[in-house]
Symmetry: D2
Subunit: 159 residues, 4 copies
Amino acid sequence: MDETYHPRAPAWEVEQWFNTDQAPTLDSLRGKVIVLEAFQMLCPGCVTHGLPQAQRVRQTFPSSKLAVIGLHTVFEHHAAMTPTSLQAFLHEYRITFPVGVDMPGGRDGLPRTMRAYGMQGTPTLILIDAKGRLRQHHFGQVADLALGAEIAELLIEAA
Amino acid sequence: MDETYHPRAPAWEVEQWFNTDQAPTLDSLRGKVIVLEAFQMLCPGCVTHGLPQAQRVRQTFPSSKLAVIGLHTVFEHHAAMTPTSLQAFLHEYRITFPVGVDMPGGRDGLPRTMRAYGMQGTPTLILIDAKGRLRQHHFGQVADLALGAEIAELLIEAA
Amino acid sequence: MDETYHPRAPAWEVEQWFNTDQAPTLDSLRGKVIVLEAFQMLCPGCVTHGLPQAQRVRQTFPSSKLAVIGLHTVFEHHAAMTPTSLQAFLHEYRITFPVGVDMPGGRDGLPRTMRAYGMQGTPTLILIDAKGRLRQHHFGQVADLALGAEIAELLIEAA
Amino acid sequence: MDETYHPRAPAWEVEQWFNTDQAPTLDSLRGKVIVLEAFQMLCPGCVTHGLPQAQRVRQTFPSSKLAVIGLHTVFEHHAAMTPTSLQAFLHEYRITFPVGVDMPGGRDGLPRTMRAYGMQGTPTLILIDAKGRLRQHHFGQVADLALGAEIAELLIEAA
């Protein structure tokens, strides 16, 4: 049982969703652990490491208890990474979990959700517990062993 | 909390230990989660997958709460995988956790600990909880994400 | 010395070049062996295998004797793989050899150079000898050992 | 055509051969290009890189024109890497090309062939041309692309 204080995760500001009919929200996912994978489709570290890891997470843990959500946080090359390009990217890389396009318009040219979470770049992996609280924030690579342990801890807490 | 019944792990029968001054036993490790990595030094799957994973486990989790124990379970090519060869192997592959040589003499030519645990081959990874009970038995490859989650579950139980 | 007959490589029809000030042509490259790497920026096999291999070729052989030319042969998801997106892709993946955008308008919706070479998809790697003749056509993956040998054969012929 | 002077490769001094009925010699292989892979069975770089590369060479080039010969050059942990251990190693790693055990007794504790070729360690890959002359000496890793080109050059010379 975790007794320390954890802040609530900021709401997502998304202009368009792919791979889902209904826009997922922190409220609608309450009760599930959330793995939020922030990426850019032209970021090599996301293509090589972050997104394949998010897909492994999706295959390893039951979707009744854990949600994997992608967030396309474009902060450079905006004209190159439009939603149209993203849609083809998701198709070609066979990414089937819901992916939201982060809303432009945050300060410093960052999209709003990226700004609200204080992300430093891509890939960033965020863990949100079943009560909607921020629990882990990984910028860059996190190893599967450590991530598996972190996810399990939140799943057990939620049970 | 785990309420189901789990059998006690069989005691290890070891003829020689490397990388440790005192022979570790299930009793001496009581209170710690144990990752038991059974391998043969000339088994390619052990060299490529099993032993590197055991080393990652050692680096990821605190040794105050989790023990990694290697077990050299030679069931073929006995003259090729003597303790002398094993010692050089451990040195060259920089394996620093304790490794025991499984005692010959089990039925069907299997060494005794391998027989007692019902192992089907190498690599085999066994998880033993802090109370000395058998909790997982993986023959062949297990993915890091799943293993990290299984270890975390046992660590949380023990806490 | 190669005595068999080899057809001339078809001229490239390119609507825009990146990473070069002057449009390379078969004539301007006469005397050099050419590695032509046909790819699509959203093709996972191109990103994982084809383009890294082309970069290794560029680093391994002298540019005075061998030219590496990329060809962006978009035959699907046209709106997703515009020249604007390609430019950002080349920047993010640090591809520095010249890359041409294959001219749309071939039969069956294929771009023109792709059609002229009879390519079946991406990645495709074409070897052109120093006399401008077609010598190898690999669709999918070709191993580095075999490719290194094929390139060396053409370099020796040219010397 | 190569006009420079290349020294003759030293004869191999081997105490035992595996995977062959007749001891291969430089004379018996005259007319073929030879890839000589010097390794130790407990050398991680040999297991990870050198030997798999030698196997790829064997699969890529015709055995009528190119011979792959392994040489077990034990210069440390002698008791751990006996011919008995080597035999099991070759079986488990499915190495099917001829492998000779380098004769002990060179100066400085090095085996004799290793000493004669001036090898600095393992893995070492030596290329010998069809006339029995030394042409390349790689200590450590050599990339497949470069090696493929070097082999092709010697094969073309021999033709």
